[in-house]
């Protein structure tokens, strides 16, 4: 595709800290290359703000390769911007054209309070994982990878669920701010494999309880999460989580 430069108007959410109310600020960005990534465009803006003695826009980023789940911008009404199955860091400016106005907001959910500007506190996800998103294994020599036979179809499904990078776009996209796609990916990933079997019941019950405690909403199967997920996690994982939960809750023997 032909390289081109563009002039953009950027409307960015600025918020000093979690207590302050926050507001939009508008910036004019001339001469932005179509080959830049979205975060590089923000780097240019921040360089300018710093040279002007102003506070740069705070945003989360780490690997910039689309695999860590740190970047988290809600761009023009869609988490991670207009492209499908893509993270903010992998979004490139060729997605926009000269004269565009781009609105950038943080993930908005009470469970993800804004720390500053576009940075939100997503530790709620860590606490959900701590509640049961693991398996217990003995230490010592590594077990042979093929010691336990796993059905190929299930291994593939488990792998697809394990692709979740925990970025929180599902929460940001959901009208209920529900974390069910994230939770269901983590539960499905382990429920599909024999290694996850011993803690199967307690895992789903504890993780759902933690999710509710964190203040996420309930799932109403609108599928907005699947449509926005950068890793293409399927909503069928949510139905599987429902089954896991019902089975665990109705067969609990204590």
């Amino acid at each position: 595709m032909e390289h081109y430069n563009m002039n953009l108007t950027l409307k960015v959410w600025r918020q000093q800290n979690s207590q302050e109310k926050g507001h939009f600020e508008t910036y004019q960005l001339p001469n932005i290359s179509s080959e830049m990534s979205f975060l590089e465009m923000f780097d240019i803006l921040n360089e300018r703000l710093i040279s002007e003695g102003k506070d740069p826009v705070a945003f989360d980023h780490d690997c910039r390769e689309g695999i860590c789940g740190a970047c988290s911008m809600y761009i023009d009404g869609k988490p991670h911007g207009p492209w499908q199955q893509n993270t903010t860091c992998q979004l490139h400016m060729r997605a926009f054209k000269d004269g565009d106005t781009i609105v950038v907001e943080p993930w908005r959910a009470k469970a993800f309070p804004v720390i500053k500007d576009l940075v939100t506190d997503r530790a709620a996800f860590d606490r959900i994982i701590q509640a049961g998103g693991y398996i217990s294994v003995n230490t010592g020599n590594a077990v042979d990878a093929n010691a336990i036979p796993v059905e190929k179809a299930k291994a593939d499904e488990a792998f697809a669920a394990a692709a979740c990078i925990g970025c929180g776009a599902c929460v940001a996209a959901c009208k209920n701010s529900s974390a069910m796609l994230f939770l269901s990916a983590k539960v499905s990933h382990l429920a599909l494999l024999p290694q996850g079997a011993p803690e199967r019941k307690s895992r789903v019950l504890d993780m759902v309880a933690q999710m509710d405690k964190e203040g996420f909403g309930a799932c109403t199967n609108t599928n907005a999460c699947e449509a926005t997920c950068p890793k293409g996690i399927s909503v069928s994982n949510i139905a599987r989580l429902n089954q896991e939960y019902a089975t665990a809750a109705f067969t609990l023997d204590k």
């Binding site: 988490p79 009208k175 209920n176 759902v208 509710d212 909403g217 309930a218 907005a224 989580l241």
Partner: protein, 228 residues
């Protein structure tokens, strides 16, 4: 984990919505099937007999109690969930994801359900309350048994144009509520097998068109005198 904790959790609440929803879907099949007797073109004889059976037989009367319990559960739990879900965002987005990520009726189940609830109040006042609690005109089935003339009541009620419009609007809300709710209910109770989901999806789409359409045809049939 106690039963209370299970049914108070977000997934437990949704399971209540799904199970009661599936029960209400089954009720709709019975309701639309019985009401279709108005098209027997026998001046309502078959319909009145069917309505009499439902009102005078013990099993449907017990199911009726269950129906109201499940209906109330579905309404109350639905409203509680809607209020709770709406409170989770905090600051609203300046630009919404909207139809790019999901269908409008999937996001509007609370609104559609409330419209159906309002319609239901009108509907119960028109037919169920007169038949259960007040004196109604009776008609002889031809074998000496006197039954409520619900067919006559329908003819009466649907002479007003605005009543027919309210009923048709109620049916449209029901159609969209079902278009999302049918499949969603099964997913919520844990069906995730791809073959069955595909089947239920098709079935749900057909159900959400055919059943509300049949219901909507009833007031129209009387208003335009398509039935005698």
């Amino acid at each position: 984990m106690t039963w209370k904790q299970v049914f108070a959790s977000s997934v437990g609440r949704k399971i209540t919505m799904g199970l009661t929803g599936i029960f209400l879907i089954l009720f709709l099949i019975v309701h639309v099937g019985l009401n279709a007797c108005i098209w027997a073109m026998d001046h309502g004889a078959m319909f009145n007999r069917a309505a009499h059976f439902m009102g005078a037989t013990v099993v449907p009367r017990i199911l009726e109690v269950g129906l109201f319990v499940f209906l109330l559960l579905h309404i109350i739990q639905g409203l509680v969930l809607e209020a709770s879900n709406r409170s989770k965002r905090g600051t609203a987005y300046a630009v919404n994801y909207g139809n790019r990520g999901s269908r409008w009726y999937s996001r509007s189940m609370g609104l559609l359900g409330t419209i159906i609830l309002l319609f239901l109040c009108v509907h119960l006042v028109h037919f169920w309350i007169p038949s259960r609690f007040s004196e109604m005109q009776e008609i002889d089935l031809g074998n000496g048994i006197l039954v409520h003339n619900l067919y006559g009541l329908m003819q009466n009620v649907f002479t007003e144009g605005w009543v027919s419009i309210v009923y048709v609007l109620g049916c449209i809300s029901l159609a969209y509520h079902l278009a999302h709710g049918f499949l969603s209910a099964f997913k919520t109770v844990g069906v995730h097998n791809k073959r069955y989901i595909q089947l239920i999806n098709g079935l749900g789409l057909a159900f959400s068109i055919i059943v509300p359409l049949a219901f909507a045809m009833m007031p129209l049939s009387f208003y335009f005198h398509w039935v005698n």
